[in-house]
């Protein structure tokens, strides 16, 4: 489970070269919205050459391809250029049953292990989330609130109250299959307070991570998705007490602790062990 997915334009050499510098857990090299049509070939060649000469180490790399239904020609060019690269997977825009099936078939034919993170950014797909979530090729679903609110003709406000249902739907679907629920990025670059608030809301809703559109947002997102010192200490205390007393139900510092709370404490410590020293 990655806390941050940092988008990097595929046609900017300086950013590609720096993809492992910004402490993101994962990066998404973009061939779609961030790249103009006349730059797409450049992005493909640049990315391919870069990844071949500098295979990713200690960071997961994904590539956001074009939309296989709306733009099959560009998408096939994307897929042909990345299919054999040492990356973790692709990010598929406007995911739905049909686009997932087409992509999965392509990967099956190529016997590719690449995973898919589906971008949920159309209203209809919310009624199909469980089908998508259960698909073995799907690693996670990511909310794309910009396109979603545009299609629905509603304001994309900073409080996020009008995308609460969309957020929660993804969270519940993905938790039910123990896969990644990835929140939409915060789009105001220099508003670090707003970012902290938005990322905290996402973490509290149950997202496992968040998309990031600027390297300077990575730290703020990690802060929200990493347990606090107090949470870690409390979890350690619970786990140690349970182990020492061989108990699954006890009173600790005036609070009732039972099995779900002990399990949660274990899960939190596992999460911290994976990411704590990277934040």
């Amino acid at each position: 489970m990655n806390r941050s997915y940092l988008f990097i334009p595929g046609d900017v050499p300086r950013m590609l070269q720096m993809l492992d510098v910004f402490d993101a857990d994962a990066v998404i090299i973009d061939f779609e919205d961030a790249v103009a049509l006349n730059q797409k070939d450049e992005a493909r060649f640049l990315t391919r050459n870069f990844i071949q000469t500098h295979p990713p180490k200690a960071i997961e790399v994904y590539i956001r391809i074009n939309h296989i239904i709306d733009d099959p020609k560009e998408t096939m060019k994307d897929l042909e250029m990345i299919i054999d690269l040492p990356i973790s997977g692709i990010v598929a825009p406007k995911i739905n049953r049909l686009s997932l099936a087409k992509l999965d078939r392509y990967f099956e034919e190529k016997t590719s292990p690449l995973k898919i993170i589906g971008l949920v950014e159309t209203p209809d797909v919310f009624f199909d989330l469980m089908t998508l979530a259960q698909h073995p090729r799907i690693q996670g679903l990511m909310l794309g609130a910009e396109d979603l609110t545009r299609i629905m003709n509603i304001e994309r406000n900073l409080t996020g109250d009008n995308i609460l249902w969309a957020r929660s739907s993804i969270v519940y679907a993905m938790h039910s299959v123990s896969k990644e629920a990835i929140d939409t990025p915060y789009t105001v670059i220099h508003d670090h307070q707003g970012l902290a608030k938005d990322a905290t809301i996402a973490a509290n809703l149950g997202f496992t991570g968040k998309a990031v559109i600027h390297p300077n947002h990575v730290e703020g997102v990690h802060l929200a998705f990493t347990p606090t010192e107090h949470q870690i200490l409390t979890a350690k205390k619970i786990v140690e007490y349970a182990k020492k007393n061989q108990s699954i139900r006890f009173n600790l510092d005036g609070k009732m602790v039972d099995k779900p709370i002990i399990d949660k404490a274990h899960a939190l410590l596992e999460k911290y062990a994976k990411n704590g020293d990277k934040s």
Binding site: Q17, M18, V21, F22, H54, H190, H214, P215, N216, D277
Partner: protein, 465 residues
């Protein structure tokens, strides 16, 4: 005190003649009007073999360029230069060469009379009728006049050049005792031009990564504690480090003893918040700093001698804990170049770089590993500005290298959460991205010297072909 209102009449009375040594300061930086007005008048005369000692040379000092073209100048000695004058000097050797000093070394050379200045033309934003001067008030207020103090005390003739004469100055930075005359001009400069190149905190993600690593390094080495002192300068990354340090100080309720060097609004803010006891200001980098120097007694101006003269046992930087400096190049021995670029063109100079690196307890170089597709680390720098034995750490976005001479630091860091990497590995990493750059341009004809603060030649400048 005699007041002139004509440069020509003044030059006549001064009997300006061949071979004279003239000095100027650069506190008005790119907004200076004094150097051009004096040198324009010089250029109309049939005078040759002048030796100039401007403390720095900026692109707007075009009259120096004209003087060079007219063969008026045979020697230039300065601490920093860029722009057309620098370009001309690198392609047209001077009869007596180009000499690059440090700020502290310049004060030392003047005070030991190793450098003898015949006439010091000192831009003085406000002068009183007795011949006292200050930089804190006046239409062209620039704050500290720190680099001009040695000139004012030791030049054979001292001319204050001003556009503002008042009856009396309290606490003048330059005292009347050594002043010979005043030259009143319509304008001595545009204070907006004093603003240093980058005086805003960086938003560049790579710069922020570097600043984060440097801050963690300083913290891990235990320097951020009550009473510590630091100098970060005015570069965007350096200012980000200042901001990070400020946050750590606020979190831990720490007050520092002093900040020194070039001062900016961010340092003033820390003073006003009570986070630092004093600012020792040799040069104001922005107008907020100028205003603070005028109004806040805890913001003190100091001379280059008080700041960095290596022969002054009480120099401020002798007590400096941490200095953060930039680099154009750094090599495997940690020698740093901030003087020339990879095309062998002068783009700067030591200023206080070499002085502070030598004196501070911890000297840190911050720079991106690759700048404009060129690795910052070289096998050997093109020009040594600051010797590697005075540099402790190099921080870039991909890691921290510690000079093997500082085993004490390495031992502390081994027990911390901060990991370090040999500078050779960082060089290899950069070559992995860029390939191995072509070697430096040929170095055939020496046209000048680079000096350390003690006056020793540490490298040479070569003709640009």
């Amino acid at each position: 005190m005699i007041v002139y209102d004509s440069v020509d009449i003044l030059l006549n009375d001064l009997k300006l003649s061949d071979g004279m040594q003239l000095s100027f300061h650069h506190h008005l930086r790119d907004g200076d009007h004094v150097i051009n007005q004096i040198m324009n008048a010089v250029n109309t005369r049939d005078i040759h073999d002048l030796r100039l000692h401007p403390s720095s040379i900026f692109p707007s000092y075009t009259a120096i360029l004209e003087a060079l073209k007219r063969n008026r100048i045979s020697q230039l000695t300065t601490s920093y230069m860029n722009g057309p004058v620098a370009e001309y000097c690198m392609k047209h050797p001077l009869k007596h060469g180009l000499h690059m000093q440090t700020h502290g070394g310049r004060a030392r050379a003047i005070m030991t009379e190793e450098t003898v200045i015949d006439i010091a033309f000192i831009a003085a934003p406000t002068v009183d009728v007795l011949g006292n001067a200050t930089g804190t008030i006046g239409p062209a207020a620039c704050g500290s006049l720190g680099y001009a103090i040695a000139d004012a005390k030791y030049a054979k003739t001292v001319i204050l050049v001003t556009d503002n004469i008042i009856d009396h100055i309290e606490n003048p930075q330059i005292k009347k005792d050594t002043v010979s005359a005043i030259l009143k001009l319509k304008s001595i400069g545009d204070p907006k031009g004093i603003i240093s190149g980058t005086t805003t905190i960086t938003n560049d993600p790579v710069g922020i990564q570097i600043a984060k690593k440097a801050t963690r390094l300083i913290e891990a080495l235990g320097y951020i504690k009550p009473g510590f002192s630091f100098q970060t300068g005015a570069g965007g990354i350096s200012l980000k480090i200042s901001e990070n340090i400020k946050q750590l100080m606020q979190q831990n309720n720490i007050q520092s003893s002093f900040i020194t060097g070039g001062i900016t609004q961010y340092h003033v803010e820390m003073l006003n918040l009570g986070m630092v006891k004093s600012l020792y200001d040799v040069q104001c980098f922005d107008l907020v700093a100028v205003d603070s120097l005028k109004n806040n007694p805890k913001h003190r101006s100091m001379s280059a001698h008080e700041y960095a003269n290596p022969e002054n046992p009480n120099r401020v930087i002798k007590n400096l804990d941490v200095v953060v400096l930039g680099a154009t190049e750094i090599d495997l021995d940690f020698n740093v170049n901030v003087t020339t670029d990879s095309y062998n063109m002068i783009i700067g100079g030591s200023g206080g770089h070499s002085d502070t690196a030598e004196d501070a307890k911890l000297s840190i170089i911050v720079a991106p590993l690759i700048k404009a597709r060129t690795p910052i680390i070289k096998q050997r720098v093109n020009t040594i500005t600051t010797p590697g034995h005075t540099i402790d750490c190099f921080v870039c976005e991909r890691g921290i290298a510690v000079n093997p001479r500082r085993q004490d630091l390495i031992k502390i860091l081994e027990k911390s959460h901060v990991s370090i990497i040999p500078i050779e590995d960082l060089l290899a990493l950069s070559h992995d991205y860029t390939g191995i750059p072509e070697s430096f341009p040929s170095k055939k004809e020496v046209i000048g010297n680079v000096y350390d603060r003690h006056g020793r030649i540490i490298d040479y400048l070569y003709l640009k072909e």
